[in-house]
Symmetry: C2
Subunit: 415 residues, 2 copies
């Protein structure tokens, strides 16, 4: 078949949300963190990146398309990932199609990459984590790389720190490591997604008029100027990480919630202690925290944990479906959709929770009573853009259905 063949693989990789936060690098290029972090992987059915990688002797250069638009691969982070994965490439043979790529050929062959997020890239939902994890995972499959997920995570880490945690499902720990070359700074799975199946997750995508500080420059400024960051990294997080691992192992939601909330707040405290200060949370984020704290106090034991990344969106982890149903009632009471929005486009992901909450349509939302713990509560329509309902989910998978590939199998160009 000459030199016209295109060989490709398509993978799907989840996003993750940290419950013990990563904030601050000790090495900017290798992306080595100042402390361990722990995350929960989100169900890829609701939030994931799909990436198709292709190789062909016909390709003239490495090219990449993100959400249908070509982007540059010249940045150091892409280059580091491509270089590291190419180093580990092995012989690949497709006997049926008569294709054989020798180990040494990989250095000369060019790649086409197409990636797509099933959620808004700009919404601050860790798209780069899923993206780099998916890129590295898909390339590893294409190149027949023998390294396991942990070893791959150390490569994905060089694209985006939090990407290393998207190589596994369930709960994942990013071990900061000690080596200067970063070889021991990688992710391990603590428990898989079946270990704690009760948990239910609601993400409030918060409307924001502010342009946010990127997490890369934000954490650099924190490392340089915050007098609290090193204390957090050296004294606070190591103890918290051990306690969080225990809470996860024991499915101890009260401890889990206390640690996750405290760590989210401390991360934002360090941002505020940065010069100039960084504000990721806004008044809506603060309100959501106050509602959750009030609700947890009135219930006597935590029903919901909150955590916020480098933006105003709230990730709310409910202890079980019942708590999630009560949570969505409260959230929709405080933050109803604007009059021109229907419930179907306001609540995305796993919509079955609506039925549990007795909410079939907008009329039911309008009829919601104020939460008992906050009788004189004000409503803020429009302050939340939409909600996504999801759960802890599985790690990366290879998609064998060729129809799901994002590149044309003949041309290697986006479909």
């Amino acid at each position: 078949m000459g030199e016209k063949w295109v060989l490709m693989k398509t993978a799907q990789t989840p996003t993750n949300i940290a419950v013990i936060k990563y904030w601050g690098k000790r090495d900017e290029t290798l992306i080595l963190p100042v402390n361990d972090s722990i995350s929960v992987t989100l169900d890829p059915a609701h939030l994931c990146t799909t990436t198709t990688v292709a190789v062909s002797p016909a390709f003239q250069q490495d090219r990449m398309w993100l959400n249908g638009k070509e982007i540059s691969l010249s940045g150091g982070r892409y280059q580091n990932c491509l270089r590291e994965i190419r180093k580990r490439a092995r012989e690949v043979e497709d006997k049926e199609r008569g294709i054989k790529i020798e180990k040494k050929d990989w250095a000369k062959l060019h790649l086409h990459i197409a990636s797509y997020n099933n959620f808004p890239t700009a919404a601050g939902l860790a798209s780069s984590a899923a993206g780099f994890a998916c890129l590295v995972f898909a390339l590893a499959k294409l190149m027949n790389v023998s390294e396991d997920e942990s070893q791959l995570s150390a490569i994905a880490r060089q694209g985006s720190g939090s990407a290393c945690r998207s190589l596994f499902g369930g709960f994942v720990k990013w071990i900061m490591g000690k080596e200067d070359d970063g070889s021991d700074s990688l992710a391990v799975q603590l428990v898989d997604e079946k270990h704690w199946e009760d948990l239910f997750i609601i993400i409030a995508v918060v409307s924001s008029r502010q342009k946010e500080t990127s997490s890369t420059s934000g954490m650099r400024e924190s490392v340089e100027t915050s007098s609290l960051l090193q204390h957090r990294a050296k004294e606070v997080v190591p103890k918290r990480t051990i306690q969080m691992e225990e809470a996860i192992q024991n499915r101890d939601f009260a401890s889990f919630a206390k640690l996750a909330c405290a760590d989210s707040n401390q991360f934002h405290a360090v941002c505020l202690d940065t010069l100039p200060p960084i504000f990721y949370m806004n008044d809506t984020s603060h309100r959501i925290i106050s509602y959750v704290e009030k609700c947890n106090r009135s219930e006597g034991t935590p029903q919901v944990a909150y955590t916020f990344d480098a933006g105003p969106n709230a990730v709310l982890i409910a202890r079980d479906r019942k708590a999630a149903a009560q949570l969505i009632q409260r959230l929709l009471f405080y933050f109803p959709p604007k009059s021109d929005t229907d419930l179907d486009s306001y609540l995305l992901g796993d919509k079955t929770i609506l039925k549990d909450a007795g909410l079939e349509g907008l009329k039911d939302v309008e009829a919601l009573s104020p939460p008992p713990e906050n009788g004189s509560a004000q409503k803020y329509p429009g302050d939340v853009s939409y909600f996504i309902c999801t759960r802890p989910g599985k790690g990366p998978i290879l998609l064998s259905n060729d129809k799901l590939a994002l590149l044309d199998p003949e041309t290697g160009l986006p479909k």
Copy 2:
């Protein structure tokens, strides 16, 4: 004249704003802090408390009126101040009126106290600091107490921690002290109000719908739950206090601004690190910080320092009148008065700055151009309730003009 006489004194005491923050007590009853703090005293012409204290054998009990309304003196903080000052009372004689009070008489005599703030009590402008300082200062004068201002500050401290810093003008340091009885936890003047006359202060009283956590309960919760507070108190503040004293002595505005802003942000970071987290600043506070940071960066050297106490109000310290005029232009551009508000009731205190800024009326405010560093800036009318323009000011004074007394000289009751 029998037992009908009333003897009284009237004093006026300024508020103060901390530039190195007090947050956290090591002793709740004596009000002993976990770190030193430094404040600037605000001009009492614009923000002050006036207190008249009276004694008469005709009084049946200790009574107090605050802003015209009788309040209870049964609280521990009032009782501690009254007890401590009574202990130090000495013989008082008014030969003209034939009045003589022996030292031992003070234990039996009752007091009437009337206090008035020339600014809204609820606006979060340190009314309790000025209030307790004025109470102690006025009683010390009435009772012929020989203790100096520093020794009096240790009594005022037991009413409200920050009150001890209102016993002096200019820049004041509250030394945390080491003794268990609090005898060495008192205020000293660093420099008087003439030392750094260039400074100009603009307070933005920020509209807020939130009910705020009281600073008393807030700092208790921070001490109990924040893992960053002790690090701040032990490691960060001691160095910062020395640097701040130097900056003040040298009138080094760049260092002063850097330290004041950093310390305000760190105090709010500790609040955020508290469980449950405490939010004193809101989106408007955050916006003001961003504008000041942007402006300072574009000027190359700091023109304005910001500091926020336990509420959303911004206290902005401009390096001189020129910087203050530019600041008020920016502030009125971003936060114009609502259409039903005139400039005269929107900008209180020293209004001469308006002329420097070329702003004679609302038309001039409407005609303001966007600040050069922020060309596409949005306006937020209504997000600031009003501004107060002021300067560093003098310490407590005794008012000799009887017309300014708040109690009737015959009855000892509020006028």
